[in-house]
């Protein structure tokens, strides 16, 4: 955990110090007007949004992965992220403001979660069915989103496309405040859900024997994960793979699952955003493209490993 905190700090400093416009260290130390504009106004809110949205996604992924006892069960694989993306996209298309985009993302995420749960229901939640249905739902929702795009005017479509690819360009402190407030409510709830998760991982029968209301606890934790995804998607767009990667990476580092996943999610997002805007000179890639490049091979590796183990 100490290593992870150090890494997060280093990632934040890197994210502040580097970018498309090169700022010499001497200018940063002098804190002149250029430094203040570049770091204080442009980069700091962007990095803050990356940290908070990344943490929310990482936490949501870890919650769902332990809830369904499957490393593939993350909100992006299950279609929740695409649902939130479509919901927010509809609001963008209708010209809604920040608050209505958040609400759109939340309702899209909740509806996708309910639909995937209902479609995969077989006298209870069956994790594998849910993952397969979720992958299908993801594609469907993305197709609908693409169709919506074709109905927009040129300028709107460009804006929507940038947003949908998961972009942190031009974030201001208002965005950081928005997700900060969401997390202020959701993080304590996540801490409370930890004890229920510890019982659920012993299996439904043992958990019931130990006095846990299993169905209620499951629904509560799933709702919490959807809320986390929606709050991240509302400020950063449907950034793929962060939620999928964070939990297993945190475990690799020997960190506690939930807290570790939040920190790893933040690190991955800040670094991916830094790479997206700085890796190719003069080209600002959207964050989502970067996490996609990082995450897709991981998903393929994970799928093949699960198949080898005969769990898929």
């Amino acid at each position: 955990m100490i290593r992870l905190s150090g890494l997060l700090l280093a990632a934040i400093l890197l994210g502040l110090a580097f970018g498309e416009v090169h700022l010499p260290p001497s200018a940063i130390l002098r804190w002149d007007g250029a430094a203040e504009l570049l770091i204080g106004v442009i980069r700091a809110p962007r990095v803050a949004v990356a940290v908070l949205a990344g943490a929310a996604l990482g936490l949501a992924g870890a919650l769902l992965q332990s809830l369904l006892r499957n490393p593939l069960a993350s909100p992006d694989v299950l279609g929740f992220t695409s649902g939130a993306g479509l919901g927010a996209m509809l609001v963008v298309a209708l010209g809604g403001g920040a608050l209505s985009i958040t609400l759109g993302a939340a309702s899209g995420g909740v509806l996708a979660a309910l639909a995937v749960t209902a479609l995969s229901w077989k006298s209870g939640i069956v994790p594998l069915r849910m993952i397969l249905v979720g992958i299908g739902a993801s594609f469907t929702l993305q197709a609908i989103t693409q169709f919506m795009m074709t109905r927009l005017t040129g300028a709107e479509a460009v804006e929507a496309a940038r947003w949908l690819s998961g972009s942190l360009a031009a974030r201001h402190w208002g965005h950081a405040m928005q997700i900060g407030l969401c997390l202020a409510v959701l993080l304590p709830l996540a801490a409370l859900s930890l004890r229920a998760l510890r019982l659920l991982e012993l299996g439904d029968e043992v958990a019931t024997g130990l006095g846990l209301h299993v169905t209620r606890a499951r629904a509560g934790i799933a709702a919490l994960a959807v809320a986390l995804v929606a709050s991240a998607v509302a400020v950063a767009g449907p950034v793929p793979f962060v939620a999928l990667l964070a939990g297993p990476l945190a475990v690799r580092f020997g960190a506690p699952m939930l807290l570790g996943a939040a920190v790893v999610g933040a690190i991955v997002t800040v670094l991916a955003d830094l790479a997206a805007r700085g890796l190719i000179d003069g080209v600002q890639l959207p964050l989502g493209v970067m996490t996609g490049i990082l995450g897709a091979p991981y998903l393929l590796w994970m799928l093949s490993r699960e198949m080898e183990r005969g769990r898929l």
């Binding site: 409370l192 004890r195 510890r198 019982l199 991982e201 012993l202 299996g203 029968e205 043992v206 019931t208 024997g209 130990l210 006095g211 846990l212 209301h213």
Partner: protein, 256 residues
């Protein structure tokens, strides 16, 4: 009597497994539920443990419908060990046992000295003190089963229900485990109810035997009265002679 079933029908996977069953579990005794495969004995135990809701009739714990009571209050009175439970990756013996304290802790409540005392008592009752920091995965089958029993002991309930606790264990470990359950009953007056497969072990290590057949209680009572040539023939379709066990004088089943 604290745990009772009255007129219960139970369906499992859409099939009616138990029909019109009445049962009273004797307090402070070691009870074994036996019967042929598919007779509904595990389903009965799960219904008594509130894991399955009967389609008709009720299970009563201390006179209250077990499904009407708060599940946490039930968990303070009734402990449960399902058949072959799965331990999460990397969990240690002490950590597993600590989770048995869940029904006694409030949402924000910290780990208390009472929790430590209960965990340590469970470790020593099961003889696992030396293995407390080992991962469950590194234990032998017998030790692992004792760790799970220790978890239900830490739960500190007057009633303990176990679904085939001796499955997958070799004979010495089966005997070891049933002796442990007998000791828990004698030392603290706990009511212990287990579903068992082995008739000889059930006869030897129980005060009370319930024989099930086709979703009904065929016979119940002390082993010497219940395990007879006639019940074996009716319940299991097994032709056998029953003679007194030369060591404990309990019934010994010799198939013909």
């Amino acid at each position: 009597m604290r745990l009772q079933a009255k007129g219960i029908d139970v369906a499992y996977d859409g099939r009616r497994v138990i029909e019109g069953l009445d049962l009273t579990i004797p307090d402070g005794k070691v009870t074994a539920i036996i019967g042929p495969n598919g007779c509904g004995k595990s389903t009965l135990l799960k219904t008594l443990a509130r894991l399955i809701r009967p389609t008709k009739g009720q299970v009563f714990l201390d006179g209250q419908d077990i499904h009407a009571a708060h599940t946490r209050d039930v968990a303070r009175k009734l402990g449960l060990l399902p058949q072959s439970p799965l331990a999460p990756e990397g969990i240690t013996v002490a950590d597993l046992i600590a989770r048995g304290r869940a029904p006694w802790r409030s949402i924000l409540g910290r780990w208390s000295p009472a929790d430590t005392a209960a965990r340590d008592a469970a470790l020593s009752a099961t003889g696992l003190e030396a293995l407390a920091d080992r991962p469950i995965a590194a234990l032998s089958g017998g030790q692992r089963q004792r760790a799970w029993i220790a978890m239900t002991l830490a739960q500190d309930t007057p009633i303990l229900l176990l679904d085939e606790p001796t499955t997958y264990l070799d004979l010495p470990h089966q005997v070891d485990l049933l002796r442990l359950l007998g000791r828990l009953n004698r030392d603290s007056g706990r009511t212990v109810v287990s579903v068992l497969h082995d008739l000889g072990l059930a006869a030897r290590f129980s005060d009370h035997v319930i024989v099930m057949s086709a979703g009904k209680v065929l016979a119940e009572g002390p082993p010497s009265e219940v395990i007879t040539t006639q019940t074996l023939a009716t319940a299991f379709g097994l032709e056998a002679v029953v003679i007194p066990d030369p060591i404990a004088n309990t019934p010994l089943v010799v198939p013909v």
